[in-house]
C-alpha cells in the first residue's frame, strides 16, 4: 500500500519527480515532525509503515512502527524520539544511516544513506587490525609462556645430567638416561603445545581429541616430577588409573604438569598426591598437596595472567603463567577446573575430563611397524663388517626391524673390546674375511670366550666356494651369501634365536 499522496502545488510535481530520482529513501517532515511525503525509494523500503489514511505519523511513531515491523535485526533504542543520526541494520543485510537537514519554514528532510559497503569494509579493517594486534599479543604471550614452561623439564634435565654423571651402576645410568630421554620428549611436546597455544590465539588450531589411557599421562608425570619431588624431600604419590579418557593428550599433560609443578613448588613438607575418581560420564583428575594453600580472596585471581601473591613470589621463581595457561587450555578443551584450598594446609586442583570408550583407546603410537613391535624389537646385535656401505645398509635394515646395533671394528684385543660394549650382544652378524686377514669365525670364538657363553652367530661371505662354506658350517655357523636378502637373513635370525632345531649347522 502506498502512503498518501502529498499536497500538490505548481511545483509539486517537479519536486516529487526530483525526490523520486534520488536512489536512497528520503522523507520530508513538517515543523511538528509529522510525515509529509517520501520519495519512491522511501516508499519501497518503508511504505508499509506509513498509515494509509490521514493519520499523523511522527518520527517517534515511525521509529516504533519500524521496531515492530520485524525489518530490523536490532530494534532502535525505545527512548529515541527522532531519526537524526540513527543507523538501521535490516534483516536483508542493508544498513541505512539517517542524516537530517532543517527546512527554512520549519520541519526537516531526512535522507537514509546506504552505508552497507562502507560498514563492511570498516568491519573487515577492524577484524584485520584485531587479528594483527592479537598475533602480536600472542607472540609476546608465547615467548613468556615458553620461558616459563620450559624451565620445568630443563631443571629436571639438569638434575638428571648430574645424576647420570654420578651414577655408580650401569642400571642406575640407564635409568637416568631413560628419564633424560623422557624429559627431552616432554620439552618437545611442550614446545609443540605452546606453538599450538599461539595458533589457538590466532584461531587456527583445533585440539586433537582422542581416546587414550590416563595411565600413560600419569607415567610421564611421574618421570617428569619424581626426581624434583625427591630432591625436595616430598612424597610424590600417583594412584594409577585404568580409565580411558577422551581429550587432547598433549594439552591435558600441560594442564596437569602445571598443577603438579605448582604443588611441588608451594609445598615444603608432606606430599603431593595425584589420583582420580569417576563422576558420571566424567573422570575428575585431582592433584592434592600439603603446601601453603591459597587465601580465599586469591582463589580466582591465581588464574589470571602474571598474577603472583606478592609475599610468596620472589622465592618461588614463578612468572604466574602456569595456571593461566591451564585455564585457557581447559577452556579450549571444554573441561572444568575446580579448586579447593585451605591456607596453611594445602590445595586440591581438579580437572573434569570425559570418559572414553576403552575400545577406542589409542596406545599413543602414530605408526605401527617392526621397530615398535617386531619379533626382534629390542634385540642387541653385534655387527662386524669392513665394507662401510654394506655395513651401513645392514645396520639400517636391522634398525628398521627394531634391533639395537653395536659395531666392532678393531680385533686386536677382543676381551677388552667386548668388555667396553655397553650391552652384551644377543646375536652376532659377521663378515667371514675381516680387515688384516682376521677371520670372523675366529673373532666369534674369542667373543664367546670373553662372554663365557656361546652367542648365536651368522657368517656372511661373498666367497661361494663349496669347501669354504662347508668348513664354516661345520664350525656351527649358518652362512649367508652376499648380497644378503632381507627375508633370508630374517629366517636365519629367527631360527637361530627361536627355533634352533631348524638350523642344521647347530645340530
Amino acid at each position: 500500500m502506498s502512503p498518501p499522496a502529498p499536497p500538490q502545488t505548481n511545483s509539486g510535481a517537479t519536486d516529487a519527480a526530483i525526490l523520486d530520482a534520488i536512489g536512497n529513501p528520503v522523507a520530508v517532515w513538517d515543523a511538528r515532525m509529522c510525515f509529509i511525503r517520501g520519495n519512491a525509494a522511501f516508499r519501497r523500503r518503508f511504505g508499509a509503515l506509513v498509515p494509509a489514511d490521514d493519520t499523523e505519523l511522527t518520527q517517534t511513531g515511525f521509529l516504533r512502527a519500524l521496531a515492530a515491523s520485524g525489518q530490523l535485526v536490532q530494534a532502535p533504542d525505545p527512548v529515541r524520539q527522532d531519526l537524526a543520526g540513527c543507523e538501521f541494520l535490516f534483516t536483508d543485510g542493508q544498513i541505512l544511516k539517517v542524516e537530517s537537514w532543517p527546512l527554512p519554514a520549519g520541519g526537516e528532510v531526512t535522507a537514509f544513506t546506504d552505508i552497507t559497503e562502507t560498514w563492511r569494509t570498516q568491519r573487515a579493517l577492524e577484524r584485520a587490525y584485531d587479528k594483527a594486534a592479537g598475533a602480536d599479543q600472542s607472540k609476546s604471550r608465547f615467548l613468556r609462556a615458553a620461558n616459563h614452561d620450559l624451565r620445568q623439564p630443563l631443571a629436571s634435565l639438569k638434575i638428571l645430567i648430574y645424576s647420570c654423571m654420578a651414577a655408580e651402576t650401569e642400571k642406575e645410568r640407564q635409568d637416568t638416561l631413560h628419564a633424560m630421554d623422557v624429559s627431552v620428549s616432554i620439552m618437545e611436546d611442550l614446545l609443540g603445545a605452546l606453538l599450538n597455544i599461539g595458533q589457538l590465539d590466532a584461531g587456527k588450531v583445533e585440539p586433537r581429541i582422542q581416546t587414550f589411557q590416563l595411565s600413560t599421562v600419569f607415567d610421564r608425570l611421574q618421570i617428569q616430577f619424581g626426581q624434583l619431588a625427591r630432591e625436595k624431600g616430598l612424597d610424590l604419590r600417583i594412584v594409577q588409573s585404568r580409565a580411558a579418557i577422551q581429550t587432547d593428550r598433549s594439552l591435558l599433560e600441560r594442564i596437569l604438569s602445571n598443577f603438579v609443578g605448582n604443588a611441588i613448588r608451594y609445598t615444603e613438607f608432606g606430599r603431593v598426591l595425584i589420583g582420580c575418581r569417576r563422576h558420571g560420564r566424567f573422570l575428575r583428575i585431582e592433584v592434592h598437596d600439603t603446601g601453603i594453600g591459597i587465601a580465599p580472596e586469591h582463589e580466582e585471581k591465581i588464574f589470571d595472567e602474571f598474577f603472583r601473591v606478592a609475599e610468596q613470589q620472589p622465592a618461588r621463581h614463578s612468572l604466574g603463567l602456569g595456571l593461566n595457561i591451564s585455564r585457557r587450555l581447559a577452556e579450549v578443551l571444554g573441561h572444568r577446573i575446580s579448586l579447593r584450598s585451605a591456607p596453611g594446609k594445602g590445595s586440591m586442583f581438579a580437572l573434569d575430563v570425559p570418559l572414553g570408550d576403552i575400545w577406542h583407546s589409542s596406545i599413543g603410537e602414530a605408526e605401527i611397524n617392526e621397530r615398535l613391535g617386531g619379533e626382534f624389537a629390542g634385540l642387541n646385535c653385534l655387527v662386524m663388517e669392513d665394507d662401510r656401505m654394506l655395513r651401513d645398509a645392514l645396520i639400517t635394515m636391522l634398525q628398521r626391524w627394531g634391533i639395537e646395533v653395536q659395531v666392532l671394528e678393531h680385533f686386536t684385543d677382543i676381551p677388552a673390546a667386548i668388555a667396553a660394549l655397553p650391552v652384551a650382544p644377543e646375536i652376532i652378524l659377521t663378515d667371514f674375511r675381516l680387515r688384516g686377514g682376521v677371520l670372523g669365525t675366529d673373532v666369534v670364538h674369542q667373543i664367546n670366550d670373553a662372554l663365557e657363553l656361546p652367542c648365536p652367530a651368522i657368517v656372511i661371505t661373498a666367497d661361494t666356494g663349496p669347501e669354504l662354506i662347508r668348513s664354516i658350517r661345520s664350525q656351527g655357523f649358518p652362512v649367508l651369501i652376499k648380497p644378503v636378502s632381507p627375508s633370508g637373513l630374517r629366517v636365519i635370525m629367527h631360527n637361530i634365536l627361536f627355533e634352533p632345531e631348524l638350523v642344521p649347522e647347530l645340530s
Partner: protein, 403 residues
Amino acid sequence: MKPQPIPVGGLVPLTTSAASDGREFQRGIVMACEEINQRGGILGRPLEPIFADTGSQTAHETIRATRFLISQGVHAIFAGYNIGAQNAEYEPVADAGILYIHCNTLLQHHDTVMSDPARYFGCFMADPAEYWYGQGFIKFLSWLRDSGQWHPASDRIAIVSGPKPYSIVIANAMKQSARQFGWTPVFPPRILRRLPTDWRPLLEEIRAAEPAVLALTHFHSGDLARFHLQFSEDPLPVLLYLQYGALHRVFSEMVGEKSRGVIIGTVIGLPRDEIGWKFFHRYKARFGPGSTPEIGCQTYNAVHHYTLAAAMAGGTAGPGGIEHNRKIARILCDLPYRSVSGTIRFHPQWQAAVPYPDATLDASLGMPHLFYQLRGPEDPAALIAPDPYRDAAFELPPWLSRG
C-alpha cells in the same frame, strides 16, 4: 569360441600341522571361483584355480610352491597364511609382477612393502597384522573388566608364546600395552623354543604366579588341543585365551565339551550379520558340516576383491604384465570392499587391511577384530565382541564359575 580361462594360484599348506587350515583356504578359493564363473568370470573369462602345497611353510617350500604357480602362468596368487617363509615368497612374486593377496597376518609385511613399494606393488595382506591381536586382546580384557562382565581376581596376566614370529609379535604386543590398561605381566612373555608335549610343569609354574589371565599365542589347532586337554585336567583359575587356531572346528572336536569358555580372537573372521550368515550356510552346504567357513572366508574374500579390481581395470595379466597389474593394484588400494568378513580397506602404505576398532573407529571402514567364546562342541562359537558385531554375551568359563 570358448573364452580362455584365467589361471589363478592357491598357495596353501595341504600337509603338516597347518593342513586343516590349508584345506579351508583351498575351499575358499574353489568356492569363490565357482561363484565368479557362474556370473561370467572376469569380463567373460572363467577363473581356473591351480594349487601348490607349501608343506610346513618354510621359506624353501613356499618359494618352491610360488615358483611352480608362476611357471603355470597364474595371473594372481591367493593364500591364507604361509608364516614360516618370512615373506620370502614375495621375491618370485615381485619378479613376476603379478598380484599376491594373502592373510599372512604378519607385521613384517608392512616393512617389506614399505621398504620398496615399487617392487612389492602387487603384495597385499587382506587382513591386519598380528600386532593388532596383542593390544586388541588387552583392550578386550579391560572392557570385560571395566564393564563389570568379569571380576578378575588380580591384575596379573601370564603370556606364553610359541616359537613362530607371529606368536612372538602378538605376545610382545600384549606385554607392551598391558600396563597402560592396568595389567601386570607375571613374567616377560615366555617364548617356547620347542612346544612341550607335557605342559603340566609350565602350568604349575604359572599357577604359582596366580595370574587372572593366561594367554597362549601359539596358533596350531592340534598343539592348542593338546595344551587344553592338559589344562583341563586341573584348570587354573584364569580367563584362558588361545590364539586363532582354537577357532578351528577340529579343536572343538578334539577337546569336546572342555572347549566351553575358551576365548579366541581373530583379526579376520566371520561376523554374524546377514552377509556373514549367508556365506556360512553356503559354505557348509558346499563343503559339509565339518568345514570351517570362518577360515575359508579369507581366501574367498581375496578372490572376490581381486575380481572386482581386475574387472574395473579391464581384465587381468599374467607374469610380466607388470603395468596392467599395477593398475589392478592401484584399484585394490582405492576400492574398499565389504567382504563376508567385514570391510577390507587397504592402507595405502602398508597394503594391509586396516583393523576395527584397533586402527579405525569406523566399523564400516575396518576389518573387525572379533572375539569369540567357545560353547559346546556342537555349537557355533559365540561372538562376544566388539560392537556392533557381537551377538552373544560373555559367560564365565565353567572352571571359573565352579570356583
